[in-house]
Assembly symmetry: C2
Homo-oligomer: 400 residues x 2
Amino acid sequence: MISVEEARTRILAQVKPVGAELVALSQGLGRVLAAPVIARLNQPPADISAMDGYALRAVDAAPGARLKLIGEAPAGQPFAGHVGVRETVRVFTGGVVPDGADAVILQENVEADTGFVQPRDGAETGQNIRRKGQDFAAGSALLSRGRRCDSRALALAGAANYPWLSVHRRPRVAILSTGDEISLPGDPLAPGGIISSNGALLAGFVAAHGGEPLLLPIARDDISAIANASDAAQGADLLLTTGGASVGEHDLLQAGLKERGFALDFWKVAMRPGKPLIFGRVGALPVLGLPGNPVAAYVCAVLFLAPLLAVLAGRGAAAGLPVFDAVMLGAALKQNDQREDFLRASLVRGEEGEVVVPYERQDSGQLQALTQADALIRRPPFAPALVPGKVVQIIRLRNL
Amino acid sequence: MISVEEARTRILAQVKPVGAELVALSQGLGRVLAAPVIARLNQPPADISAMDGYALRAVDAAPGARLKLIGEAPAGQPFAGHVGVRETVRVFTGGVVPDGADAVILQENVEADTGFVQPRDGAETGQNIRRKGQDFAAGSALLSRGRRCDSRALALAGAANYPWLSVHRRPRVAILSTGDEISLPGDPLAPGGIISSNGALLAGFVAAHGGEPLLLPIARDDISAIANASDAAQGADLLLTTGGASVGEHDLLQAGLKERGFALDFWKVAMRPGKPLIFGRVGALPVLGLPGNPVAAYVCAVLFLAPLLAVLAGRGAAAGLPVFDAVMLGAALKQNDQREDFLRASLVRGEEGEVVVPYERQDSGQLQALTQADALIRRPPFAPALVPGKVVQIIRLRNL
């Protein structure tokens, strides 16, 4: 058995980002930039007014001064002339500040006569003007390669005049569930059979982390069925299997993959749940073998699949690593053995702040409890017994 | 001007959840349940073995006892007979515990002879057995209406034998950008014109919050163009406008909507940025008018659009309300005036923990700065000046 840390390091050393494609800006949400966004123009494109008011030479503004109104400059309709001595032009928010003017006074701060305007105050050079390129200058780097686009990034790319974006394509992840006992939801169920939930779990997890899930048909417990499934996964960026990773006689996953030259990297990790994790390759195709138990599969997905997908997707491993927060414990914990534990837990807000309470039952067959859990408590190998009030490390599950 | 709180209350009072549709389980990620998920079967469906081992009567297990091996029960292939006195059946993880047996001993804890098995230890009734219905019983409520489905919820619905889900359809949000000066990215740009970024911003925001964005063509500054755009939005659940909400002569949004019977609820909110927010209805269609400035539009989206979409999407307003965290201030702040401020800021991790540092420039024209911001600092109306080290309320932007 190797440690969680070593397992993750070995997995991440074997994968690299997938290639790029162009997508329309409107399709860019959640996509990862494969090239930086460099401004294609200045923003603002010229000196523009930040307010509705009057553009003038700052030196002409003084209480009682009388300026001649020589035109107007709404947004999108620049004034073509020049603002000279004791002249002014009506401007609107977003309108170009006319040539010759170097300040804008607010409309509420003038007396407007027919054809003339009288400022109530002086003005400072540049006031109420957004300078050309003040937000960004043409040629400047606005968004870095590897950024996952949220709505703000899409707005900035749009403002920089990008109708489309170069993004990493979504990593293709083939998902293989194995087992004689499992059926898809709604399909006929054999006596003693159970409904497969890992397909839905992992497809959802992959999609939520920017990948494209490809659900392979369930493979029966049969060497050639598994070997054939691995053929079907060729062209994917990752083969994700579930089940068949334990020690029983009917666990044929490795035997099936070996028919296609499976090179094992490691098998078994010192963790609970999730011990029977497998990693290796069939040719160029990385294979991550998750336990069949959905709770164990999910914990392994959080710890290993999320950073793996972050690498494939071009975000870099750090974006997918679990984030640990220190939170006060609300119940006692026993001493831990040599395996790193990940306990399902609730977060509650008490008088002394946030408290994490591990579920009494940590049976990894409890899928319902998993869907209600707020967090996983991490217990390092050989962690000492803890009383309530001590601080533990948790991973929040809300956003996974 | 009304307060942020009052504006939000008035908006949320006017909207309700959209209707339901059925989607395949594989399409359920991020969708909001319109009906609870009630278990259609027991999980596990029968008493099953949690381990690879031997099923027997607990009373028969003792060091040196010799049990007759009468069959095997792999997952999915139950043993049809009955386990009698001093008999045992080979079982595998997930296999049904045969009739008559009430315990499973691990395979590593027996001596296996041909046809016989000798336990090394005693056994307790129920050990290594997952009871029928232990995870969930048929008929029990597993997932509530209003839950947004993550990968865990999809797995649980799958395990409960749901091939499809009843979910709220995605709220349809028509987005209208207005202004003579704006062009779409890549389109020809008039002199003094700027690229529209609000369409990309709001479409991304709507999609990230579970809505379906519909980008209307840009409307020129013309009453009938705006009136026609409001016709085109009929059938949407919300019309979101941007621009034309300020006080200048060229702000024709309200005039255009009034051509179609616009009923104004409120205009202007005591906040910065975002003061010229408008809310009302054209017939049954709610209209939320955001400022044209993208930074102000984004802040208004965080404060008002997110909870509005959460209501439409069936999640309930609480799921979309901004979450405030208390964080230590890393720079001085001046006293605030009567408007509630939302300052763009960075989060940095120092020796004393997390610190929030407001940007020096709070110009709402700074779209680039917005895309780099980690948080908004909330400054209540008339908040006193603060020195570094004081605690302020922030909204984290990472997940919006």
